[in-house]
């Protein structure tokens, strides 16, 4: 057999199953879901013709009873809770990643593993753990009640506080790993030079450490913010109605409320916001990091 033909055959043989799997079981379903957003909600909550923008109107808050801002609040809250969680994760991950990078080499792999292992347990179990800790009557809840943050005999969940803790807990490793990779390659000579020139620790960080760790930070922000924005489990288990995110709104349309087109429209908005977020981060990274490509 000629080499070219055999190469093509090998290519098809190795690549086809994987590509087919993703095409048939991910691309096709996603396209179907996107199309569904433009259908009308039928009598049993299933999508039917004719094509319409009804679902988007409902998503924007126009219903039988006039306009209500609930869904828009949910979208804004999703963005806000994502940003807050990402900020807290970053503030925790920076010192942690730096500390790991200063330890002897033989300890580092173990320390990284220690950070990552909790995130391998099932999402639901992690939330159950926090439910145990934040439940009414636990030391933490009693302490908070004594300080007057919550009513006595109440738990610390469901609350927005619990949701933020859950988000930070879930996605912290995704920030520590890329930041650690950046710190490991850090050119300490630059930092020493800054200190020798009497730079304060803060300005040494800003001018010597931060630019060097920026690619790691940007990668971490992408890895944390994207799944945090789509969170379902934590908000469902640790949050109440007032900390609901867009993922919960979408899921509800397929479970209890049965309005598939509305849910599909919500999913479409989720994907759009995710892509816009990626684009913004990319531009931000480029602006902060000069010409270097820092994201993806």
């Amino acid at each position: 057999m000629p080499k070219l033909a055999r190469d093509t055959q090998h290519l098809l043989l190795t690549v086809t199953p994987g590509v087919l799997c993703i095409l048939v079981f991910l691309v096709l379903p996603s396209l179907y879901l996107m199309g569904m957003a433009f259908l009308t909600n039928g009598p049993y909550g299933l999508p039917t013709l004719p094509l319409s923008l009804q679902a988007f109107r409902e998503l924007a808050g126009f219903g039988f009873l006039g306009w209500s801002p609930g869904n828009l609040y949910t979208l804004l809250r999703s963005v806000w809770q994502t940003l807050l969680a990402t900020l807290i994760v970053t503030l925790i991950a920076y010192p942690a990643a730096y500390y790991i990078s200063t330890r002897p080499a033989r300890w580092r792999a173990l320390m990284l593993l220690a950070v990552v292992v909790p995130s391998w347990t099932n999402q639901v179990i992690r939330s159950v753990g926090w439910m145990n800790i934040l439940a009414p009557g636990t030391p933490l809840a009693d302490f908070a009640a004594r300080l007057g943050f919550i009513e006595p005999q109440m738990g610390l969940f469901p609350s927005q506080f619990a949701v933020i803790i859950g988000l930070v807990y879930n996605f912290l490793p995704f920030m520590v790993l890329p930041l650690y990779a950046a710190f490991e390659k850090l050119d300490m000579a630059q930092v020493e030079a800054a200190r020798d020139l009497f730079a304060s620790p803060l300005s040494a960080f800003r001018h010597a450490v931060f630019p060097q760790t920026l690619p790691g930070l940007m990668a971490g922000v992408v890895l944390v913010a994207i799944p945090a924005f789509g969170m379902y489990v934590v908000t469902e288990l640790l949050g109440g109605g007032r900390s609901m995110m867009i993922g919960n709104l979408v899921a509800r349309q397929f479970a209890q409320a049965s309005n598939w087109p509305l849910g599909a429209a919500g999913a479409l908005i989720m994907i759009a916001v995710t892509l816009i977020g990626l684009k913004v981060l990319r531009n931000l990274g480029r602006r902060l990091g000069g010409d270097r490509e820092v994201v993806l």
Binding site: I22, L33, Y99, W120, I125, V128, N132
Partner: protein
């Protein structure tokens, strides 16, 4: 702040972080041995919850489903994903290079959108053709679909780190593609395959959302069982089930650490 004080601060910070990361898991494990049903007060050591758990047929079925789902989907994903990673590396795709973006699609797609898209698609196919009724089969398909890209990326990364001339040498040494596969490719890729096996396994065990939306009435897994128990407000055995799953994850972590150590010693 002097260097010594900074180090002391960082050490303290690290221990606080460990407490934050492990307290929720530790609480689950400790209270799974509690003699009363409370997560606020430990009344004494008992194995009651575990006895009840192993006597409960629904939970045992869920345990079996969880194990089948994780192992079957992982095995399929490692084969398909490994081939994909190899194919993308070996045959520079030229006109087909846009296909690489397919790999990133499942990685950036929110879980919930992924799960719902699969569910609506399976429902549609089921209405038309009568196949793919929700159950373990649809769950395995969904899991394989999100595992494949991670395996492909890992295998691909390992191949990119190799010296390209190795492939020519292998071509000169071994006549048939099968010989090359068994004598060169598989042994070379063994660390990457082992790593992607563990990664795919943890991805499957960690997942709840995608399983939840593609599951059928007969294919409840442990996380889905815990979820619906919380919703119904019955929670007694939950800490015991969760402890079993935490133990599994720590077993995998130890395996991966041993694998990492062996890899490092064999490289040098």
């Amino acid at each position: 702040m002097s260097r010594g004080r900074l180090t002391a601060f960082l050490r303290g910070f690290w221990y606080a972080l460990m407490l934050f990361l492990y307290a929720p898991l530790l609480v689950v494990v400790v209270f799974s041995f509690n003699s009363i049903n409370s997560s606020a007060r430990f009344a004494g050591f008992s194995l009651d919850w575990y006895k009840r758990l192993f006597a409960n047929d629904v939970i045992m079925q869920a345990l079996w489903n969880t194990a089948v789902l994780a192992t079957v989907s992982t095995l399929i994903a490692v084969v398909i994903g490994g081939m994909l990673g190899y194919g993308f590396y070996r045959y520079r795709l030229g006109r087909l290079s846009w296909l690489v973006w397919l790999i990133y699609l499942p990685v950036i797609m929110p879980d919930i959108v992924f799960g719902i898209a699969e569910m609506t698609f399976f429902v549609l196919i089921n209405q038309w053709l009568g196949i793919l009724a929700p159950g373990l089969g649809t769950m395995i398909i969904a899991h394989v679909t999100f595992q494949v890209p991670f395996v492909a990326l890992l295998v691909n990364a390992r191949l990119l780190a190799l010296d390209p001339s190795l492939f020519e040498a292998a071509q000169d040494l071994y006549a048939s593609p099968w010989q090359r596969l068994s004598a060169f490719l598989l042994p070379t890729l063994r660390p990457a395959i082992a790593a992607s096996f563990l990664l795919a396994l943890t991805l499957s065990i960690d997942d709840f959302v995608i399983s939840f939306f593609t599951a059928g009435p007969e294919s409840t897994t442990l996380p889905i069982y815990i979820w619906s128990a919380i919703r119904k407000g019955v929670t007694p055995e939950i800490n015991a089930i969760a402890t079993l799953m935490i133990a599994t994850v720590f077993l995998i972590a130890m395996l991966s650490m041993l694998g990492g150590r062996r890899r490092r010693t064999s490289d040098t």
